[in-house]
Each structure stands twice: as structure tokens, then as C-alpha cells.
């Protein structure tokens, strides 16, 4: 009796287990395919950067180079283009933009979240509307203004359109909304000014949001080609993508091995930085509810 009952139950368990296994294989297969699709261009870039020129242009598609040509490609890229200069330009531009964005957006987000003043709601709606305006729209007036002021071809010209980040204001406002009012009122009773409350009490709690925004901001401006292309013609001031373009035009022509080597060198810092900040990045996105 018992054995007869146990048998179908055992069979059912095996079916369930197999079903779960099959489901897991399917889900993971799907995710792996997606990841491979995303990663393929990067992998191809890495592989190309160690191929000799004749292997890059062969009619047959081969993944791994027969002849390792990495040293030649990388040394050519490093010697014939000021890659370090481009990278430093990128670091300087991204850092300055981020610092000014935070200096502006933190007090703005705090005011929109926690201070009561007439017109607050209107200002917040305007902020949301500004999120919908692409950077290309004000490009022309900004260019004319910078040209009239004689500021083209400066670091300032690359950075100035991005000093005010509406996205940062919005993100931080959402984050500050959840900060307990009691703590702010206790700080007021203890004699803190609003500015000190912002910087000494509220900001230290907002690190996840700030880190998340920093990733967005740095990625966007490290990779930005559109605006630097408009305002920069001096190679010495070029951020990485624009530098790559100059490099491709002037020196290498169709030397794709060297070009991909340069691209690898200029992408690497960002990838490494992201790997370090990954935990914070995900925390920030889940905490701020921006998904």
C-alpha cells in the first residue's frame, strides 16, 4: 500500500525537478544569449586590437588571430596619438561636470523635497518638463553664445551645458523626500542653517543616490562625442571619443588594429570604475526607485 503510494509521488517529484531544471536552463540560456549579444562588439574590439592588418581584412571570419600583433597595435596607438592626454581630458571634464552638478543639484533637490515655499510645485513641474528636452535643442544658442564670448575651444565650453543636471535634481529630490523630517527639525533646533543641514546631515545619507548619479553622469560625459565635436577643434582639449576621431582621421586611416587598441585603452577606465562601483550603483537605483 505504502509503496504503491510512494511510487507516483516519487515520479511526480522527478517530473517537477526536471521541469524546474528545464526552466532554469531556458532562462539562463536566454540571459546568456542576451549578454553575449551585448558583449560581442567589445569582444570583437579586443580581438581586433591584437590582430595584424592582413588578418582583419581577410574574407574568412576567424575569431582568434594566427599571429599575435597586440604589441605593435598598442604601441602604435600609444605613440602616434596622445591617448593619455585624451584620457586626462576625459577625467578632468567628467570630474568638473560631476562636482558642479552635485553642488547645484543637492541644494535644489533638498529645497524641492523639504522646504515649503510658494511656487515649489510649479518649479518641480518645470524640472520634470526640462527632463524632456534633448541636449540638441539648445545646442545652437549655446554655441552662438560661447562663440560671442570667445570661449570656444576651452574646457569650459565642453562642460558648461551640463552644469545643471535636471536628472540629478529629480533623482535627489526623490531620495530626499524619504529623509525623516524630524531629523531636519532637530538640526534646526540645534542651530544649523539650512545649508549646513543640506551638507552635513542630509548629504551623508544620500551617498547611494549620489553614487548612482555619478555613474550615469561619468558614463554619459566620458562617451559624449556630439557636444565636444561642436565646440572643440583643438586636439589637445579633446575628450576620449573626439580624440579617437582625430586619431582615426589623421594618423591611421584604416589601421583598424591600432584604432581598436586605442578604443580599448580609452574604454578600460570606465569599465574598471563601473566594476568597482557596481554594488553602489545597483543600491542607488533600487533605493531611488529609478528603474
Amino acid at each position: 500500500m505504502r509503496a504503491a503510494q510512494a511510487k507516483p509521488a516519487g515520479a511526480g517529484r522527478i517530473v517537477r525537478l526536471a521541469g524546474r531544471l528545464l526552466g532554469g536552463v531556458l532562462v539562463h540560456g536566454f540571459l546568456l544569449a542576451g549578454a553575449a549579444f551585448m558583449l560581442l562588439p567589445f569582444v570583437w574590439m579586443l580581438v581586433t586590437s591584437i590582430k595584424p592588418p592582413d588578418e582583419i581584412f581577410t574574407a574568412t571570419l576567424s575569431f582568434w588571430p594566427k599571429q599575435f600583433y597586440g604589441y605593435e597595435n598598442y604601441s602604435f596607438a600609444l605613440t602616434s596619438a596622445p591617448l593619455l592626454r585624451f584620457a586626462l581630458n576625459g577625467v578632468l571634464i567628467c570630474a568638473c561636470i560631476l562636482v558642479v552638478q552635485l553642488l547645484v543639484a543637492i541644494p535644489c533637490g533638498y529645497a524641492l523635497a523639504k522646504l515649503r515655499f510658494p511656487g515649489r510645485q510649479t518649479l518641480f513641474v518645470l524640472t520634470l518638463l526640462a527632463l524632456a528636452i534633448p541636449v540638441q535643442v539648445p545646442a545652437l544658442p549655446l554655441y552662438i553664445a560661447l562663440a560671442d564670448l570667445g570661449l570656444l575651444n576651452t574646457y569650459f565650453a565642453i562642460m558648461v551645458p551640463f552644469f545643471l543636471s535636471v536628472f540629478a535634481i529629480f533623482l535627489l529630490r526623490q531620495f530626499f523626500k524619504g529623509f525623516p523630517d524630524d531629523i531636519i527639525q532637530a538640526a534646526r533646533l540645534d542651530g544649523m542653517s539650512e545649508f549646513e543641514i543640506v551638507w552635513r546631515i542630509v548629504t551623508p545619507s544620500a551617498w547611494p543616490a549620489i553614487a548612482a548619479f555619478a555613474v550615469f553622469s561619468i558614463v554619459a560625459h566620458w562617451n559624449d562625442l556630439y557636444w565636444p565635436l561642436i565646440v572643440i577643434s583643438d586636439v589637445k582639449l579633446a575628450p576620449p571619443p573626439l580624440g579617437m576621431m582625430f586619431f582615426a582621421d589623421a594618423e591611421t586611416g584604416s589601421n583598424y588594429g591600432a584604432l581598436t587598441a586605442a578604443a580599448t585603452i580609452l574604454t578600460a577606465p570606465l569599465v574598471v570604475a563601473f566594476l568597482f562601483a557596481r554594488r553602489r550603483f545597483i543600491d542607488g537605483i533600487t533605493m531611488t526607485g529609478v528603474k
Binding site: 524630524d182 533646533l189 540645534d190 549646513e196 551623508p204 545619507s205
Partner: protein, 400 residues
């Protein structure tokens, strides 16, 4: 130490008034409790005193001088919040010391890096450190000074919040439900500690709570609030013994007072469930009223002691709650529907089980409220020859 006076404090959020002209005088060193159900305006009132919320009209005076124009930290008041409101990224020492650094260091002495240039900063910080340790030792939290609030229990956070208030030596302590987030046992303990702290500091305390036990046990005076008004202001014993309003009677005392519907008879005496109370109320005949009897003022009659004035009313024991030292008896009385009449009796009381019985109370112990809920002082309580007030019986009828 300071006196606090509120003159016609009014507060409107939109069209709805939250506070309707509150007048209150608080003496030097007094422990005054604002008590009431949530939404009665007590927290708003304490925030107005602190300066965290502007009043729509009226004035707050400390030591006779208005302080309405002063910002919160200039008012020499300290506040303890229900959520403790500790700064999460600072240590306990940092939390307690913050009000002092704000007072004693200038703005540039508090800026990062630049502060290192100040020659006197180190000395001031040492003084503040000593002060913080002194306060921490009073509260027995010296061992916690290096920890952050997240690593503290509720009771410890409560003490840190108290320390942050004490370190400023304020004129007035404001406490907004400081014990509500603690568990029941710790709350009882902290109640004693707060009362002892008040006795030691002799500072004016204004304490907000929705817990009538806290109000009764700690306060010199209690102000019972409801819908933006002060219903009654007085010593805890006064609120208990002579509630000015039916809502005060309901709120103060545990278990809550028994409220029985009554009608005023021809001679002005209230009649409860057909039983006439021998007193004159001055209320118009035929109007409705409410009679309140505290659970400790009513008890099952001792068997075999019937007295004059008995009215036959069914009172059947529904259930008995054993509290150890005493019982709370729930009786069904005909005419009250599902609402039980509660009696508090000593533990050695013989109440049997689910039987019918007579309930007896002294008419002098009854509180009479008119149709609007205001207290009516009875006159001409019929006195018996012995001088004792007439006892009234709600007598059990036939068994159900």
C-alpha cells in the same frame, strides 16, 4: 528655568483650524503634559512652541517676553522627538555634542579642513567632549559614545536623544511622545527615569503624549486637548476625580469609565436605566444626559444586603479578567445593548461565574454630563442619616 505662556495660539492648515486660540500658563519648573487622542493638535502646539511651525495667530512668551520672532535654536528650548531624530551618520558623542559645537564654534571653525586653522578649536572641542561625557554619565551611556545610532537599541537611542537635549541646558524641555516607540516594560521604566530627571533638573517640561497613564503618573498638571481646544487643565487627580467633559472622563482612567445613558426626570434628577439618582442637576426635565461611573466606583452588591432604592435590572457577569492584584468584571446590563459595564474588584473578591448579580455604586461617585457632554455639578445629594450617600443598586433580574 522659565515660565511659558501661550496667548491665543491659533493654527490653520488650509481652511481647517487645528488649534483654536489656545491659552496656557506654565509655571517655572513645572511638568505639564498635553494629552489627547491623535490629531487633537497637541504635537502642532509643541512644534509652535519650539518654533518649528509658525502659528497663524497668537503669541508664545517665555519669561514674559514674546519669542515668536526667534528662530528655533534661539529660543533656548530643547526637544525630544518620538522618532528620536538622531543624526544617523554621527556617533553618539557627535550627536550629543552637536548643539554645543553649533553654539561655541563659528561657521568657519566648522568647515572641513579650514577648521584645522583655528587655534582655539581644539580647546573648545575638549570642553565640549568633557560636557558630553558628563551628560552621558548622568544617563549611563558612557560606554556607547563611540557607536552610531543604528547600533543602539530603542531605549539607548532614547537616552541619546535626551542627552542631546540636556547638554544645551535649555530653559524648557519639549517632549513629543518620547516613549511611544519603546516596548511596554521599558516605557514603564523610562517613565520613572523621566520623572526623576525632572526632579533633578528642575527645568520646565512640556510633554506630549496620547497615553493617559504617562500623563497621570509624571505630570504636575495635565492639559487634555481635543479638536484644537483644551478641554480641561488641572492636576492629574482633578482630571480623574472631576472631569469637566465627557471626553475627558472617557480618556482618563483605565479601564475607561462606564458611560450610561440617562434622562432628566421631572425634579431635575437624572434617571439611569429607570433608576433615579437622588440629586438635583438643574438641567431641564426630559433632556438627555450621560452618567459616568468609574469601574472602581461600582461593584457587585454583597449578597443579602438589599437597601432602599433598589431597581430591578438584569446584570449578568459576561466575563472576568484576572489582572493578578485585581479583577476586571464585565457585566451585561439590559438596556445598554452590547456595551458592558466594567467593575474593578480586588483579587479576593468572590464573583462566581456567569451568574446574575446586583451592581451597586454611590450616587456621589457618579459624574453627570449634559447633552453637550459638559460636566454638571449636582446639588442636594440626598444624605442618609448615617451621613453616607444613598447607594443605588442596579439589580439583577431573572436569569437569562
Amino acid at each position: 528655568m522659565a515660565t511659558v505662556a501661550l496667548k491665543g495660539i491659533t493654527k490653520n492648515f488650509g481652511p481647517a483650524p487645528v488649534l483654536n486660540g489656545i491659552d496656557l500658563d506654565i509655571a517655572e519648573g513645572e511638568f505639564l503634559t498635553l494629552v489627547g487622542a491623535s490629531g487633537c493638535g497637541k504635537s502642532t502646539l509643541i512644534r509652535i512652541i519650539a518654533g518649528l511651525e509658525p502659528q497663524s495667530a497668537g503669541s508664545v512668551m517665555v519669561n514674559g517676553a514674546p519669542i515668536d520672532h526667534l528662530r528655533p535654536h534661539e529660543r533656548r528650548v530643547a526637544m525630544v522627538f518620538q522618532s528620536y531624530a538622531l543624526y544617523p551618520h554621527m556617533t553618539v558623542a557627535g550627536n550629543i555634542g552637536l548643539p554645543l559645537t553649533m553654539q561655541h564654534l563659528s561657521l568657519w571653525e566648522r568647515l572641513p579642513l579650514i577648521k584645522l586653522l583655528s587655534p582655539r578649536r581644539r580647546r573648545v572641542m575638549a570642553e565640549i567632549g568633557a560636557e558630553v561625557r558628563a551628560v552621558a554619565s548622568q544617563l549611563q551611556i558612557e560606554a556607547l559614545l563611540g557607536r552610531r545610532p543604528a547600533a543602539l537599541s530603542g531605549g539607548q537611542r532614547q537616552r541619546v536623544a535626551l542627552g542631546r537635549a540636556m547638554v544645551r541646558h535649555p530653559d524648557v524641555f519639549l517632549m513629543d511622545e518620547p516613549l511611544s516607540n519603546l516596548d511596554a516594560k521599558l516605557r514603564v521604566h523610562m517613565r520613572t527615569e523621566l520623572a526623576e530627571l525632572h526632579a533633578r533638573l528642575k527645568t520646565t517640561f512640556i510633554y506630549v503624549t496620547h497615553d493617559q497613564v504617562e500623563a497621570m503618573t509624571m505630570s504636575d498638571r495635565v492639559a487634555m486637548m481635543d479638536a484644537g481646544h483644551i478641554l480641561q487643565l488641572g492636576k492629574p487627580a482633578e482630571l480623574y476625580a472631576r472631569p469637566a467633559n465627557v471626553r475627558v472622563a472617557q480618556f482618563i482612567g483605565s479601564p475607561a469609565i462606564n458611560l450610561l445613558p440617562a434622562r432628566i426626570g421631572e425634579d431635575g434628577a437624572p434617571e439611569v436605566l429607570g433608576c433615579r439618582l437622588p440629586m438635583a442637576t438643574g438641567l431641564p426635565a426630559g433632556s438627555s444626559a450621560t452618567v459616568g461611573i468609574r469601574p472602581e466606583a461600582i461593584a457587585p452588591a454583597d449578597a443579602g444586603k438589599p437597601e432602599a432604592g433598589q431597581v430591578s435590572l438584569p446584570a449578568v457577569l459576561r466575563r472576568a479578567e484576572n489582572l493578578g492584584a485585581e479583577f476586571i468584571l464585565h457585566f451585561d446590563v439590559a438596556g445598554l445593548g452590547d456595551q458592558p459595564v466594567l467593575c474593578r474588584v480586588p483579587a479576593d473578591h468572590e464573583h462566581g461565574t456567569h451568574g446574575r448579580t446586583d451592581l451597586v455604586f454611590d450616587a456621589a461617585q457618579a459624574h453627570v454630563f449634559d447633552a453637550e457632554g459638559n460636566r454638571v455639578e449636582p446639588s442636594g445629594l440626598a444624605q442618609r442619616a448615617s451621613g453616607k450617600p444613598v447607594r443605588l443598586y442596579l439589580t439583577g433580574g431573572t436569569e437569562r
